[in-house]
């Protein structure tokens, strides 16, 4: 592992889901949900993992969390005691002591909290399960966590049904932070929230990361959201990593045609911005039977003969910028600018995101 303190290094991660047919459920093929994914996350940084449905980002996140066992590859995690552990082959019992160090924030605010338990029970569960039996100590910890995420501690005796979606996400974040994890995996944490609430929760995550020096793996399908939260961005398509670079570099000048297409497809809230007339043709490839050669070639506007037969490898085309494309160096793709657009856009005032005036 490099000297710049990588917290997590994923090497050639693979996850196959078998396809079964027939009365005896024999395996006739496999869906390559995650196909040779490699990346590193440094301590204290946020890596945004972005892609459309079926690209494998959620499966990758779940493999890293060891919610599901990967089919192949290595997940090298630097534990609190300094040792580097490969999480991939560990058994349930071996994982147990490492669990408090990697936690998750879920997408659905309504399903992620146990409706029959109070907020105190929900947020205190990781503490109780990891040995903090003293109720008084737990009450104080939970109160601190709720305050940290902008909620009133005296509400901890309420049940989840009393809270809105945005508040529940804050509770979910409080729960994830209970054991002081080294790595937090956030799986689409703002996708199910209203626009104004999204901003509050995103700001909260940014703030918490600065304060607690968190390392965050942020999975999302919304490029704008990813740009707001990430230091570096990884783009996935049909189970493969197609581009990885710093947020600033990838948005200014993407190197993979799919990344560029994604950026163009995002509708900009400005009626004078060019509309997506250059929309991408075709459908997302089927992960059960992906095309030969480059998975993206049937839809790529820059396709050449080589792309149809030869599978591109992940190559470094600039410092810290890797791409999986045969033509990465020669293409000049347009990105999106960093200057504020015309109109009501632009960051002006100081935000009031932490304290919720409920």
């Amino acid at each position: 592992m490099s000297a710049t303190a990588s917290l997590l290094e994923v090497r050639h991660l693979k996850k196959l889901f078998p396809i079964r047919r027939g009365w005896n459920r024999r395996i006739i093929g496999a869906v390559s949900a995650v196909d040779d994914v490699s990346f590193t996350i440094r301590e204290g940084e946020t890596l945004g993992l972005v892609g459309e449905s079926g690209c494998g980002k959620t499966t990758t996140a779940r493999c890293i969390l060891r919610a599901i066992p990967p089919t192949g590859g290595e997940i090298l995690f630097r534990a609190a005691d300094g040792r580097v552990v490969d999480l991939a082959p560990l058994s349930r019992a071996e994982l147990r002591p490492l669990r408090p160090q990697i936690q998750m924030v879920f997408q659905d605010p309504f399903g992620s909290l146990n409706p029959r338990m109070t907020i105190f029970d929900n947020v205190g569960e990781p503490l109780l399960v990891n040995g903090l039996r003293d109720r008084r100590a737990r009450l104080e910890r939970v109160a601190g966590l709720l305050e940290l995420t902008g909620l009133r501690p005296e509400h901890m005796h309420r049940f989840p049904h009393a809270f809105s979606g945005g508040q529940r996400q804050r509770i979910g974040i409080a729960r994830a932070l209970a054991t002081e994890p080294r790595l937090v995996v956030a799986d689409e944490p703002v996708s199910a929230l209203d626009v104004s609430v999204q901003a509050q929760v995103l700001n909260l995550l940014l703030e918490l990361q600065k304060r607690l020096h968190l390392t965050l793996l942020f999975v999302a399908h919304d490029l704008a959201v990813v740009k707001h939260i990430s230091d570096r961005v990884a783009v996935m398509y049909v189970g493969q990593l197609v581009e990885l670079a710093t947020a600033e570099a990838i948005f200014r000048r993407p190197r993979h045609p799919y990344t560029a297409a994604l950026m163009r497809a995002v509708p900009v809230p400005d009626p004078h911005a060019p509309s997506g007339d250059v929309a991408l043709a075709g459908e997302v490839a089927n992960p059960a039977s992906p095309p030969a050669g480059c998975y993206f070639h049937p839809r790529c506007p820059h396709v050449v003969e080589r792309c149809r037969s030869e599978r591109p490898e992940l190559r470094e085309v600039a410092a810290g910028h890797v791409v999986r494309c045969h033509r990465a160096e020669e293409l000049a793709l347009a990105g999106v600018g960093a200057e504020p657009a015309r109109g009501a856009q632009g960051v002006v005032e100081s935000p009031d995101h932490r304290r919720e005036n409920v």
């Binding site: 459309e52 948005f251 809230p269």
Partner: protein
Amino acid sequence: MTAPVLRVTDLRVHFFLDEGLVRAVDGVSFDVPPGQVVGIVGESGCGKSVTMKAILQIVEPPGRIVGGQILFRKDSAPPVDLARLSPKSAELRAIRGAEIALIPQEPMAAFSPIHSVGEQIIEALQLHERQWRPSGPRLSRTEARSLTVDLFRSVGISMPEERVDAYSWQLSGGLRQRAMIAMALSCRPRLLIADEPTTAVDVTTQAQILNLLRELQRRHGTAIVFITHDLGVIAQMARYVVVMYLGRVMEQGSVEEIFHAPKHPYTRALLKSIPSVNVAPRTLLPTIAGSIPHPLGRPRGCPFHPRCPDAIPGVCAERAPALRPVGATQLASCFLYHRDEAAEP
């Protein structure tokens, strides 16, 4: 000025729940000019879906339209007030599907799983035959089928002859939504209501669907009411925008006015709080304080006042502002722009 295809005036839809009365739509008015796209935008609880359901008279009990008018004009005939028609009446059923069509949010849920997609379109064509084809011999099945194949081709579905016999669950998300659009347009409606049609699909598919809708709208001159929470989509699609919050219209106007010169504090705050690809990474977003109140706990006076940075003490908490002009075609309901109204006792 040409008469609008749809004119909603002071629409009120209330839900009579055990726990209390929810004023889901509380005095909403807007016009839909013929052949134009009107976008209705708002967050959860704003009443945009209920407004759509009221137009089609599919509001579920315990909800009911309790006031207002929904005037629908087909060609030069006098307008019909849809709010007055009984939901099960033959008159309304003739309008639904033929004159006003719906593109729902979840195409999977909207198609029957046991009929092929072509089957359902053929059914619609045959049902409303006399409306889109007033004269001529009765439509035969082969004719209906070939019309359906043409429809599929026009919405960009590849291999239409095979796809006509496919079931909805056999199609991908993008294809399903296109089939849904084909069904909606089959009887050449004057008004199309699109209820979050791209929320459930990927962003690249969304771009395709939006392109398709724009193209079809230009070709057939259909008016569209486009409901969404995504301000980016609204900016790309709509000509006029209606911003709703907690059952009332906060602001409405042309898309340029709304995005480049928003007047209502809610609109301004909402626009500022959206994450954008055009801003530098890892910047904090300005947010709207507080959260959307529970529908049963609607604030007195202006529904936005508890969260409004510019609320006028003593005024905004007492009375609800009316929707009044603030620009050429722009209207806002805010006491900041109607000082005379605020000063009234």
